[in-house]
């Protein structure tokens, strides 16, 4: 008996990662790269700031979506799409349809037209709700500057975009059921997961299919034609570059101090961490005194630190003259002899450094 077909005979014993982008599995780091790509799309061919997204841009995005994403072909011929959002201006309406008009200047069937409802409502885009009051500005980017002398930064801020919902009626007018079927198939395939996206100045704008309605003229004694209305809701947002702000950041800081000279405090002698191995010993020589002795019970290294009214000085240990720095052993007596510059009080500060 042969092996059932469902049993796999060979197994890859050194499998590669399923997603080549994440060789060691998803690490949470690669996502920002994609964000960087999206930011590049937004700022492409422009300044560091995003470009305005206003009503006309969203209308253009919907028109482009209809022309490119809902492209319908019947009998090998593309169904014409009127390439403008129709408005009140009569001659403009006429001028945009003449390319596929007949001798009576009527548009030839089949064709698709996009009609925008003039009222634009506050949006339902879930990312943008009533969250931040008063058009507060938010940091968008810090951009380095150089004015020839100083380096600096400009801080770019933008407010929260305003969400808008725009309703479009995309109508197909035709004579044959198969043209309706083709367009219906394209729309339903595109909106299988409820929404599709158009691309407006680097932003992906969702479009939701609201409803499909039939407005066909099937009267007995009139001209007959099919007309179906696909109503879409574009969940966009308005981003107005007039609201953007660019402010210079700090490029040079000047720190100024003001002090009151009337109340001066003595400087603390031991600033910071005290050094336990170093001790200053101040010797004061009064009027007729020119020599002093200092006994030591520990081994220190002695040197003169500060002098006041002292012309010269010398050290002797046990009657033996020594040079500075003086190494004093326990039990030694250091004699300091000075020559004064002027009669009066003199001071000599010894710095004693403990050895060992």
């Amino acid at each position: 008996m042969g092996i059932p077909k469902k049993i796999k005979k060979t197994l890859n014993i050194s499998p590669e990662p399923i997603q080549g982008h994440y060789p060691t599995g998803y690490n949470g780091i690669t996502t920002p790269y994609r964000r960087g790509e999206l930011t590049d799309l937004i700022t492409d061919d422009g300044t560091y700031l995003p470009k305005s997204v206003l009503h006309a841009d969203l209308d253009g995005g919907m028109l482009e979506f209809t022309q490119n994403q809902l492209k319908t072909v019947t009998n090998g011929k593309k169904v014409n799409v009127i390439g403008r959002i129709l408005t009140l201006q009569r001659w403009a309406e006429f001028s945009q349809t003449w390319k596929f008009a007949n001798e009576d200047k009527n548009v030839e069937l089949p064709f698709i037209v996009v009609v925008r409802k003039p009222d634009v409502q506050y949006g339902t885009n879930p990312a943008l709700q009533y969250t931040i009051p008063n058009r507060k500005q938010f940091h968008y980017a810090k951009v380095p500057t150089w004015d020839g002398t100083r380096k600096g930064y400009d801080v770019y801020t933008i407010p929260q975009p305003v969400p808008v919902d725009i309703i479009y009626d995309v109508k197909i007018v035709c004579n044959r059921m198969r043209e309706l079927n083709n367009f219906n198939r394209v729309v339903l395939q595109k909106f299988t997961s409820r929404q599709a996206y158009t691309f407006v100045k680097g932003h992906y704008i969702p479009i939701v299919l609201n409803s499909i309605g039939d407005e066909s003229q099937i009267d007995t004694e009139e001209r007959r034609y099919y007309q179906q209305n696909y109503q879409f809701q574009l969940q966009g947002f308005l981003l107005d570059e007039e609201e953007f702000e660019v402010k210079p950041a700090i490029s040079r800081s000047l720190l100024m101090f003001g002090t009151d000279e009337k109340e001066r405090k003595k400087e603390k002698r031991n600033m910071g961490k005290p050094n336990a191995k170093k001790v200053n010993n101040k010797l004061t020589f009064t009027g007729g005194v020119w020599a002093m002795t200092v006994p030591y019970n520990y081994k220190v290294n002695v040197s003169a630190l500060r002098l006041k009214n002292v012309d010269s000085y010398s050290f002797t240990i046990n009657g033996v003259s020594v040079d500075e720095p003086v190494m004093v052993n326990p039990g030694d007596t250091l004699q300091v002899t000075i020559v004064k510059q002027n009669p009066g009080i003199s001071t000599l500060t010894l710095q004693e450094t403990l050895v060992g």
Partner: protein, 171 residues
């Protein structure tokens, strides 16, 4: 349809092409000579006009026109409309629609066509010129009313609605 020429033999026992021409010339003599309602046609140059990419609209200064043409027509102007914006709050007294009857032959002689969206100036007085936009260019003249006894169409009925100066300023 346009390339084939089919002889019209309708009512040929008592009406011919010569009769059609005579009737038409008599009518034109009366309309152009006696009535002499003169208007100015401003044809929009749809190629040279600066249009918006998305909407195809133009501002007042962005529309380009072909040279204005004077023409004659039978004129009927409806009574003014007393309308309002804002549910009766902003009153608006506007001229009514203007309906023109224009001989096809006259348009052929002038080598012009009146299209949907073109503008027409009508001198209401020595100092006032009203401007209208063509809302129905009457291009389809297949009904019997536009023919002489059913023989052939000889005029067009053009319906125009008044425009304000922020749409068209004229001359």
């Amino acid at each position: 349809m346009a390339n084939k020429k089919i002889p019209i033999t309708r009512i040929s026992k008592f009406f011919s092409s010569e009769d059609f021409q005579l009737e038409q010339d008599v009518g034109m003599e009366w309309l152009h000579g006696d009535m002499h309602f003169t208007m100015v046609l401003f044809r929009v140059d749809k190629k040279l006009s600066d249009v918006d990419d998305v909407y195809g609209e133009s501002g007042v200064e962005e529309i380009r026109y072909k040279p204005p043409v004077e023409f004659n027509a039978y004129v009927k102007i409806d009574p003014p409309n007393n309308k309002s914006y804002g549910g009766g709050l902003v009153n608006q007294m506007e001229p009514g629609n203007m309906t023109l009857g224009v001989y096809n032959k006259h348009l052929d002689e002038l080598s012009v066509d009146i299209s949907y969206g073109d503008y027409i100036g009508y001198p209401e007085s020595e100092t006032t010129m009203r401007y209208y936009v063509v809302a129905n260019d009457g291009r389809v003249t297949s009904d019997m009313k536009h023919t002489i006894g059913g023989y052939k169409a000889f005029y067009r009925t053009i319906v125009c609605s008044w425009v304000s100066e922020n749409e068209f300023k004229g001359i």
